[in-house]
Amino acid sequence: MFTTGSKFLIGACVVATISAIAYGVTQDGVMGTVGLASAAVALGFLAGINIYTRDSNIWDDEISSVETAPAAARPPANSIWPMAFALGAAVLTVGLVTYQAVFIVGVVLLLATGAEWTAEAWAERASADASYNAEVRNRIANPLEFPLAAAIGIGIIVYAFSRIMLWLSKTNTVIAFVVMGVIILTVAFLAAYRPGLKSKAAVGAIAVGVLALVAGGAAAGLDGEREIHEHETTEGLTEEGEDICLSPEEFEADEKASQSVAASANVAAEITLTESGTLEPSVVGPLEEGTDALTLPRSNPNNVIFINDSDEHRRLSVDLTVPPVDAAEDEGPLLKCTALVEPGGRQNITLTIGAPSFAAPDGYFFFVPGVESARLELIVP
């Protein structure tokens, strides 16, 4: 019969031929077809030689040593690796002329199958004892196979799940996540509570679930992600060239952007936009009613919370414009602000102010775009 080596070469030749035909039919240009056809011819030639020499194997005068060799006790078992290896080589070749991704898949396939094949072939020559050989093989291969297979498997599941989540609408993702959690918990509960559950049935159910997940992921991935809004930062200009901090309107600024950890505790000040449209500061300790200025230290990361008690969406802005040290580097007005805050909402803004307020001709002040009366002086000594 055909030897192992010949099988590989024949397989490679066939794949190359098919690839050459496929390429010739689907692609313009002849270079690819010529290359693949040449490879097919070369592989066919090598296969012929190999069959003729039976892998250049076995000398008549060494039969005794062959017969007493450990590997002689058992014939090699059937093996999928030669074919898989050939497939890898072919994919690699196709990748060379088509897409890089295909090429990489080919390389990986080639390396993986090559390694498996090597391990198997090597183990089969360990002894005449098949179970011992299998143990030898497992010992060398399992430490690599298990972690890699687990990583790949988890990767596929996670990636598929992420595609589904990105495909669903924001609301549905929550539902999907809850459903997923419930399913996992239920399965775990059943497994724990009813250990008698047929393992085949359980494995089957899980396999179906994973398959469905992967299929769903593939479908979702092909369909593309849901529309994701680009959020602007709260510093900068709108497309119309208007400074966000001067505008009372929504620019899809990320409302969660500055609701950071520090926002919750021991802030420098809270500034409330009251229903009557004024800004009321509040700091630790007693500060007399009607204070019309807030003092913050200089060059210090100050966390200030803006509380919107008005009926409209509002943002808190602060004007920190000072004349430049070097007139040539005038960057214009320096404004900072929160994103638009819903009625009753609150948001943190971290202000680090380098220059004292007396450096600014008009001083610094907080204001709320759209509410004329909301103005609060900021003193930085």
């Binding site: 420098a268 300790g285 000594p381």
Partner: protein, 415 residues
């Protein structure tokens, strides 16, 4: 924790009641052997020598705890000593192999638990009381930075009314018998504000504002020290609270807000003003200072210093320390005169500020000559990659001796 209550510090409370109770307590505790040996007298940061109601609250809580701990300690150690003597091997028989008496053990578990419950109840009460902020009458902001404290008084009706912000450093001035709320934060790393004779310590954390109460019973200087490790020169980050009578406090405020006066033309100090503008004003603000063109000089330490600020020197000579309160602006003699004066004359002496005769010019000149050599700071340009070229602390400005003379003359007028 003086072992000699008779040798009282002149600034210390004259209240007989406090004095007597203190003597009694010290006697009790010392008698119990907690204080096996003497303690320092008049240590500036003595935690057992409260000088205000907040520190007193803590003290009233802690001395009974020390007492209880001392008693328990003595009992246990005596018990061990008795055992060692009584049960040493004198050839007696192997003792009974008893594995314990549960009733005794449960009893001996409940006993310390009861004692601790007794301690826990007043503890919780004191914790709550010391965190009260609403009854304070004066708000002062402190900001820690490597390695000095900036102290600023915001505009407020409190503190007897402050019309314009006052910025100073190293020394915090408070009126006596007034509950003061210190609101503190930090510009770089975590520092800790601690004036032991007035209250416990509170960490000042960047991005957070922490409040601590202060109140002094008598005029005087109360020493403190940054107590959270804050890097290279942690040991040189000190501060002092200066308590003045309300009248003296008004005088002090007026001093701080007095308009800027340029040195008389032609004097050494006038040359010093130009040198200051050229060499120092990039970082150090002097309020009201104008350059040759008549423009207000505005320092921008945030462009030079990693942590973003440098001490405001407008009224340097009204303070009597410099460089993070680590060195005195007064000579030893003059310093002793101020620190050890009695409460009645203290305010007057402190408000006199630093005169030419009293100026500790040796150390001030040394500082101007090469600051990082005197106080370890991170100001070596070779190491500044990590801070984008910004210094941490004051660099060596390589001033000439003439420039130093001019600057000293100029600074001497800053009060």
């Amino acid at each position: 924790m003086s072992n000699s209550p008779l040798k009282r510090h002149p600034l210390r409370s004259a209240s007989t009641f406090k004095h007597m109770s203190r003597r009694t307590r010290v006697g009790l505790v010392a008698g119990l052997g907690l204080l096996v040996a003497g303690c320092a007298e008049d240590a500036a940061q003595d935690t057992w020598d409260p000088a205000g109601p907040n520190a007193q609250d803590i003290h009233n809580l802690q001395w009974p705890v020390f007492l209880i701990a001392g008693v328990v300690g003595v009992i246990v150690l005596t018990f061990v000593a008795i055992i060692i003597v009584k049960f040493r091997d004198r050839g007696q028989a192997i003792p009974e192999q008893t594995h314990g008496k549960p009733a005794l053990e449960i009893g001996l578990t409940i006993l310390p638990a009861l004692i601790l419950i007794g301690v826990a109840i007043p503890t919780v009460g004191t914790i709550m009381a010391l965190n009260e902020t609403d009854d304070t009458e004066c708000i002062i902001n402190v900001t820690g930075q490597q390695w000095w404290w900036e102290i600023d008084y915001a505009q407020q009706d409190g503190c007897g009314g402050i019309a314009e912000p006052i910025v100073t450093s190293g020394q915090m001035i408070i009126p006596i018998d007034t509950p003061v709320l210190v609101r503190g934060t930090s510009r770089d790393v975590i520092h800790s504000w601690w004036i032991p004779r007035l209250n416990g310590k509170k960490d000042m954390v960047p991005g957070r504002v922490h409040a601590v109460r202060l109140q002094a019973d008598e005029p005087g200087i109360y020493a403190g020290q940054c107590t959270e490790f804050c890097g290279l020169s942690h040991a040189n980050m000190r501060m002092e609270v200066v308590a003045l009578t309300p009248e003296d406090f008004e005088t002090w405020k007026a001093q701080q807000l007095a308009p800027y006066e340029s040195p008389a033309a032609g004097t050494l100090a006038a040359t010093g003003e130009a040198t200051f503008i050229a060499q120092c004003s990039r970082c150090h603000q002097v309020n009201g200072l104008e350059d040759a063109a008549g423009e207000l000089v505005i320092s921008r330490p945030d462009l030079q210093v990693y942590s973003g600020a440098a001490p405001n020197l407008t009224t340097l000579m009204t303070r009597n320390t410099f460089a993070g309160a680590s060195w005195d602006l007064l000579t030893d003699e003059c310093r002793a005169d101020v620190w050890e004066s009695d409460p009645d004359t203290f305010g007057e002496k402190y408000l006199a500020g630093v005169s030419a005769e009293c100026l500790n010019s040796v150390q001030l000149r040394e500082w101007l000559r090469n600051a990082p050599a005197m106080k370890p700071m991170y100001a070596d340009p070779a190491q500044l990659d990590e801070t984008d070229g910004l210094v941490r602390g004051m660099p060596n400005l390589a001033l000439s001796e003439d420039q130093i003379d001019e600057l000293v003359a100029y600074l001497l007028e800053r009060k």
